[in-house]
Each structure stands twice: as C-alpha cells, then as structure tokens.
Amino acid sequence: MADITDTTPAIIAAPASKPTRRIKWGLVGDHAILILGSLFMVVPVFLVFMTASHTPVTVHTEGMQWWLGDQLAENFHAAMFEKGGFTDTVDGMRMLMNSMILGIGFAVGKIIISMFAAYAIVYFRLKFATLAFWIIFTTLLLPLEVRILPSYEVIQGMGLTNTYTGLIVPLIASATGTFFFRQFFRSVPEELVEASRIDGAGPVKFFIDILIPLSRTMIAAIFIIMFVFGWNQYLWPTLITTEEGFFTLVRGIRQIVQTYTDSSIPEHGQAMALAIIAMLPPVLIVIFFQNWFVKGLTESDK
C-alpha cells in the first residue's frame, strides 16, 4: 500500500478522510474455490493419517478418525517391520523396495526406450519413419488392460512370472514418452546437429554429449510421470507375481485389510500407515524434480 501512496498522491489526497474498504467479491470467490479445492485434496490424506494412529478396534467400531490417537508409532512400526501376508515373509520394507524397483525400473526403462525410438525417428532418414511413428502412436489406443491376456501368455511362456523382469519389461514401451521426446527433438535447432557433425561427433556422441544434456528437463518430467505410473501399478503385478516376496506397497495395503481369519479384526491402522508410506515417494519425487524443472528452465535458453 505504501508505494501506491507514493506514486499516486492525487488520488489518495481526496478520499483520505473516509477510507473505503470495499470487499472485492471476485477475489473472495477465487479464494473460496481454491480453498475448497485444496481441502478436497488434503482432507482425505489428513483422515488417513489420523486414522493410522488408532487401534483397529476403534476404527472398526467408530470408522475414520478425525483426531490423533496413541497408536501412531506402533502402527507404522508394525506396518513397516512386522512380517505379514499369508506366508509371513514380507514386511513393509520389502514392499517399499519392490515398489521402488518397479517405479524406477519403469521410469528409466521407458525413458531409455522412448528416447531411442524418438532419436531414430527424428534424426535418421529411415524409410517409413512417419509410418513407424504413427504405429507407435496408435498403441496409445491399446492400454495394458486391453492386451493383458496375450501379454500374460507371453511372459508366462518365457518363464518370467515372479521376476522383476517380468514385472517391468512388458510395460516399458511407451508411446507417450516417444511422442514427447519426438516433439522435443524436433525443436532442437538443426544447426546444432550440423555443428556437431563438423566437430566430429558421430550419432552416438551427438546423442550422449548433446541431446541427452539438452533433454534433461524433459527427462525429469517424463521420469515423474512414469515413476508415479509405475508406482501405482496394481493390475499387472497382481497378475504376474504370486510370491509374496514380490508384493508392492499398493498390493500390501489390500493384503493387510484382507488378512482377517474368522473373528479377527483387519489391521485398519496398519493399512492406513502403509497408505501414507505409499504416498510419500511419489510426493518426494515430484518435489525433488520440480526443483530441477525450474533450474532447467531458467539456466539454459533452450
């Protein structure tokens, strides 16, 4: 307010005696929408967290809890370190590791494959390069769920069930990634290719020395998307892994809720604790790479 007074003394001079504090309803409306939206996103997480601090009995009889209970540490500890499941072999740490392997394997695999594909399509005079691209692109119309039976058949035939390879490899071909990298590569100035040709960089050197460093913000973006996508996979891991040693967090949550026999009460608190843990890595990844985004955008002019 101070600098407004400085710059426009004429306007201030007249109404100084009666300060008009009109409420800007537009602004209030905007904020209301934003606040409601945030609540809509945050309240469920809050509920999950609070519920994670209660005993299964409380949750079972009274439902989700709004206030902090006294079982928080116990529930988290049990969720992470107590062997559970049908065979009593898998604990939270194991599931966390499995999820990590799946998420990172997914993201890295997809980035590598789609960068290679886009590099071939954009920079080499292949016959039918455009056709190849559109064929890759149309696979967007065939998500995993559509081809899940043949995919399972192939993996099972190769004896890859209950392996990380079987979990990751069938899903790493990515039309989305290829498309994004293709668009990005096409925006890289032609002269850079020519300059590096004169500088004696062959296709491999150009790819490693020039293209990958230039793509790092793009890689970060796709890594985020693909990591979260891989992390949240449920259907495919359920199908391809039967050993509990390969369970991921997302599956583990269900497992905990399910393991009641006869009259015992499902460990709601532990399940909620596990849900919180399952939420954390994607959040951290986004926060970490967001930093990178901004850096990449402000530091270089490409």
Partner: protein
C-alpha cells in the same frame, strides 16, 4: 596449399529443384570470398556443399589437392560459423570451443592451451566458464569464431554470421572477422545477403542469382563493371538506375524521343538496351544537358537522395549535402564513364 576448387558443382534436390546450377571457380590460398545474393539464390546451399552438410549432385569439389566430395564434414578440415551461432547451450564457453578437438582425441592439456589461445585472441578469456546463455550476441558470435579457430582449419565457412546482430555490432564484428582472417591467413568462404558486408569484407565477390553465378570479381570490378542488370541493381546502395533505352550501334543511346546520349561505342549490339547509371556518378550542374524532374528529397546526413523522373522513368540522384533548396526541373551532367549498357533481353553487359 589450401585452395578450394569447384568444378561444375551442381545441386539438385530430390524434389527436382536445381538449387545450384553447374558452378566452377577457384579460391586461392588465404583469400576471403563472399558469396552474395538474394534469399533462395543457392549461396547457402553452395556453402553447405563445401562443408559437407549437403551432398554434391554433380561435379567435383577439392580442398587443397584432395577431392572431398565423399569426405565426412569432420574430416574435411574445415570450420563453420552459423547464423544462429549453434553453440551447445549446456556447455561452457571453453567446452564449446574444445568439443571438436576432444572428439579428435587430442590430449586435455593441448585442448586447454588452444582454447586459451583462441580466447585471448577474441577477448573471451574471462568468459570461459560461462554458458552461452549468459553472453551477449556479440560474445556468442565470438565464441562461435573461437570454436572455428581452435580447430586450425584449412578453410573457414561463414553462413550469414552477422545477421542476428544489431547494426552497430555488425560493423564492429565485420572488421574483427576480416582482420582475424587476414591475421590467420586462412582461406574463407562467407555467405551473406548484405551487399555492404560483401563489398567491405571480400577479396573477391561471387554474385549469385537463381542458382547461377552472375559475376565473380573484386569488389571494385563488381561495382564499376557489373556483368548484368541483376548485379548492377543488387550491388550498391541506392541501386543503380536502370532505364529502358535503345542503342543505335554507333555511339549514341536514345532515351525516349528527344534525349540522346553519347557513349563510348564498344558494344556490338543495336536495338533495345538497358541504360544503367549509378546515382552517385551523376552530378547536378547548370551546364548539364539532361533535364531531371525532382519529386522527393531524402536526407541522409552526408548526402541526400533526389528521387524524380528522367525522360519519364524513375531516377535517383545522390547529391552532396548543401542546404540549397531544390525543386522543379534540374539539369544533370551524365559523364560518359557513368553510363553502363546492358542487353535489353538477357540483361548482360554490352
């Protein structure tokens, strides 16, 4: 000796367009040749063929004594400076300049020494650790030059290197490039669409139009004896006046019905011609015999341009700047040496 020889070099694109018609010329060692022409005249294509970035359809290209038609760009021992500099945005200035040497497998210490040497020459020493995005346009241009220098090439190629700079910087860089090239004594080919750049920098100029070489010559030759109406109107600012006229074959050229000018009779063509007169070779004179109808005056500071009509055709005179008010019909003195005759149909010089 690193001369460059083009022998009937031709470029036809896959879609059938002939971008460069068979062209032959030779660039002696250490010369700076400027290729100039309007956009789409094939000058860049020609340069890119020399660089190896475009395939040569026909003809032979040699650098030194080596035919390099099928030699990879990296092995032609050339260096190229691009219009938009084409610096690697993620590398520091030092890395940008040393990248080519690194790919050649030179030891690190040697690369470092060469980069420092080039940076010193170009006043870039304090910027070696910066990224291109942290440099001004002129500095980026110099980094691009540095990248070319450190390779110690046999041939420099410049593809409109100054078009992205503002006018003042352009003049300055023009001189820098010229003196650097002289100092290093490296043969250079330089492409531009700016005739001032061509005139000021070149040892020799190649004027191109529609994929064809119109004229090759020293700047003074190009200016004083343009080989065609295209060269005449392209080189020089303001451009040469071109008037339709007829030549009777024995020393007089007729402009319209009642104006005939004597001319040195060395042309063996009679009939329709184009009469070319440079605006700066015409003088206002009370004793002049040619009437000129003045329409408009453009002040340039050092001189002024008088636009008007001569024998019913558009005509421009570049007159010295005195403050004398001018209007109406003025008398012009057209010296014989200022008159250029061109064939009426082909546009070639007579």
């Amino acid at each position: 000796m690193s001369k460059v020889t083009l022998d009937r070099v031709r470029k036809v694109y896959p879609n059938g367009v002939e971008a460069v018609r068979p062209s032959s010329f030779e660039i002696p060692h250490g010369e700076l040749v400027v290729m100039v022409g309007p956009s789409g005249c094939g000058k860049s294509t020609l340069l890119r063929m020399v660089a190896g970035l475009e395939d040569i359809t026909d003809g032979t290209l040699s650098i030194g004594d080596r035919v390099v038609n099928d030699v990879d760009p990296a092995d032609r021992n050339i260096a190229m400076v691009f219009q938009n500099y084409a610096l690697y945005p993620h590398m520091t200035v030092a890395k940008n300049m040393g990248y080519g040497l690194k790919n050649r497998g030179l030891p690190k210490a040697e690369i470092d020494a060469k980069v420092r040497e080039a940076a010193r020459m170009l006043n870039l020493s304090e910027y070696l650790d910066r990224r291109p995005s942290q440099l001004s346009g002129g500095q980026r241009q110099r980094v691009a030059m540095g990248r070319a220098i450190v390779r110690s090439p046999e041939l420099f190629l410049f593809d409109e290197p100054l078009s992205n700079l503002d006018a003042k910087l352009r003049n300055q860089m023009r001189i820098e490039i010229r003196s650097l090239q002289r100092r290093l004594g490296v043969t250079a080919m330089y492409v531009t669409h700016d005739q001032v750049e061509a005139m000021t920098m070149a040892d020799r100029i190649i004027v191109l139009n529609a994929g064809q070489i119109e004229q090759i010559g020293k700047p003074s030759e190009i200016y004083n004896r343009p080989a065609s109406t295209f060269v005449a109107s392209f080189m020089g600012a303001p451009p040469m006046n071109l008037l339709p006229a007829s030549y009777n074959g024995n020393g007089h050229v007729a402009l319209g019905d009642d104006l005939a000018l004597p001319i040195q009779a060395d042309a063996d063509h009679a009939g329709e011609v184009q009469l070319g007169i440079r605006p700066e070779e015409v003088h206002l004179s009370d004793k002049g015999k040619t009437p000129f109808q003045l329409d408009l005056i453009e002040e340039l500071g050092a001189s002024r341009l008088l636009h008007g009509k001569l024998a019913g055709h558009e005509f421009t005179v570049n007159a010295p700047n005195d403050d004398a008010p001018l209007e109406g019909t003025l008398m012009l003195d057209l010296p014989q040496h200022a008159l250029h005759l061109f064939h009426g149909e082909t546009g070639r010089r007579l």
